[in-house]
């Protein structure tokens, strides 16, 4: 399968990328690792007229300790997130979850920023970063702004990014003492599939993969936990407020069941790691 025709430009700086995006507007798409966008283009579900390749922006690939948070360049590949000693020490949830994305070949190309900006509710990292309460940094032609991740995902494949804005950095707060327990549960049919349902837990934060049009905080579970409920009691609320769909992989009812079961497992594992 071959994508429909487009014009390819490789940006040599973030500034040039934003300028190109502003010039071509809705007809342009940023290309990072391409492992979400190119498959859609091959299926002709996406047909941008212009691809702005960010692959040359090596200065947007980094993981640095900023004291209270870890700063991650948007073009940092899943492979590098997975194998980061800094994350293994400070935010093991993120390193572990990055290692669950796709397969080794996909992790050699796919980037954390691409995964977030794509806005697919079935992706792992959006929910993980929601549980971690990350802040996103976007650069546009009018300057730079910070977006709390809770305001970023607006619908299926819809984010708060303007057409000319480029996601440049993800800031992940270091979990506080008492909130360092974590778990990531992902249920798939085949090893490399998207999650049918997934659950990310960091401390008392619980976020769900593929239970709505966006990644979702399981607020009813969090409230129950804060009120002293056991993992099993809290997990019973996992499907509340969700709007999962039925599709070829699972019915809505099955997804709701999975959300409760996986949340229970995740909370139990989190408790075991909290000490």
């Amino acid at each position: 399968m071959i994508p429909s025709s487009f014009t390819y430009k490789r940006a040599s700086s973030a500034e040039e990328a934003c300028d190109l995006a502003a010039e071509y507007g809705e007809d342009a798409k940023y290309l990072a690792g391409g492992h979400s966008l190119l498959p859609l283009m091959k299926l002709r579900l996406a047909a941008p007229e212009m691809l702005i390749d960010l692959g040359g922006l090596r200065d947007l690939s980094y993981l640095t300790d900023q004291g209270s948070h870890i700063a991650i360049g948007a073009l940092t590949r899943h492979h590098d997130v997975q194998h980061s000693d800094l994350l293994a020490r400070e935010v093991p949830l993120l390193a572990h979850a990055a290692g669950q994305v796709g397969d080794p070949q996909i992790r050699h190309r796919g980037t954390i920023g691409g995964s977030i900006a794509h806005g697919d509710p079935a992706s792992d990292l959006p929910a993980v970063l929601l549980a971690l309460d990350a802040t996103l940094v976007a650069r546009g032609t009018d300057g730079t702004r910070e977006i709390p991740i809770g305001e970023f995902f607006q619908g299926l494949f819809e984010t708060a990014l303007e057409p000319d804005e480029l996601l440049t950095e993800i800031r992940v707060p270091k979990p506080p003492a008492g909130g360092r327990g974590w778990s990531f549960q992902k249920f798939t049919q085949r090893a490399i599939d998207w999650a049918i349902v997934g659950v990310a837990v960091q401390g008392g934060h619980v976020a769900l993969v593929n239970m709505a049009g966006t990644p979702l905080r399981a607020t009813a579970v969090e409230a129950a936990l804060a009120g002293g409920a056991s993992p099993a009691e809290a997990a019973a609320h996992a499907a509340e407020g969700s709007s999962a769909v039925s599709d070829i992989r699972a019915t809505r009812e099955y997804r709701e069941h999975l959300a409760r079961v996986l949340t229970s497992r995740a909370l139990t594992e989190t408790a075991s790691r909290a000490a």
């Binding site: 390819y8 391409g34 091959k42 691809l51 080794p104 070949q105 996909i106 050699h108 490399i192």
Partner: protein, 162 residues
Amino acid sequence: MKVDLTVNGKEITADVEDRMLLVHFVRDVADLTATNIGCDTTSCGACTVLLDGESVKSCTVLAAQANGHDITTLEGLASNGDMHPVQRAFHEQHGLQCGFCTPGMVMAIVSLLKENPHPTEEQVRTGLEGNLCRCTGYHNIVRAALAASETSPQADTAEVSS
């Protein structure tokens, strides 16, 4: 657009469509047909090649993205007529049946052993989760990967340029 790739150590310059996939560049422009197109959906791994020494699925990379980079295909592994240790291990362990997945499997294992020269069996199995064998001949493929890691700890640093 004009692209300039180094494939198995040889520089290849060509004028290609912006939308050309790397796997088509390898097969149709470089005329190296060991790399197979299987699912064409980033699932099966048959089209795995090394990009700057790391395994990638060439059906999901544009030739334009690889412009200026190094590509290694199965044809680039043997040196002076001697099979690469991973190729030899496939031969000795009978790591193939129909052979369609083999080029991708070999390239995935070369990349895996470069990152982790002495993997456990479980690490080999999870490391090959992106490569499907429809003959389901996984046991001997895993044996071949483990044999290659034992016989040649540095299997992959010398022969594969990156």
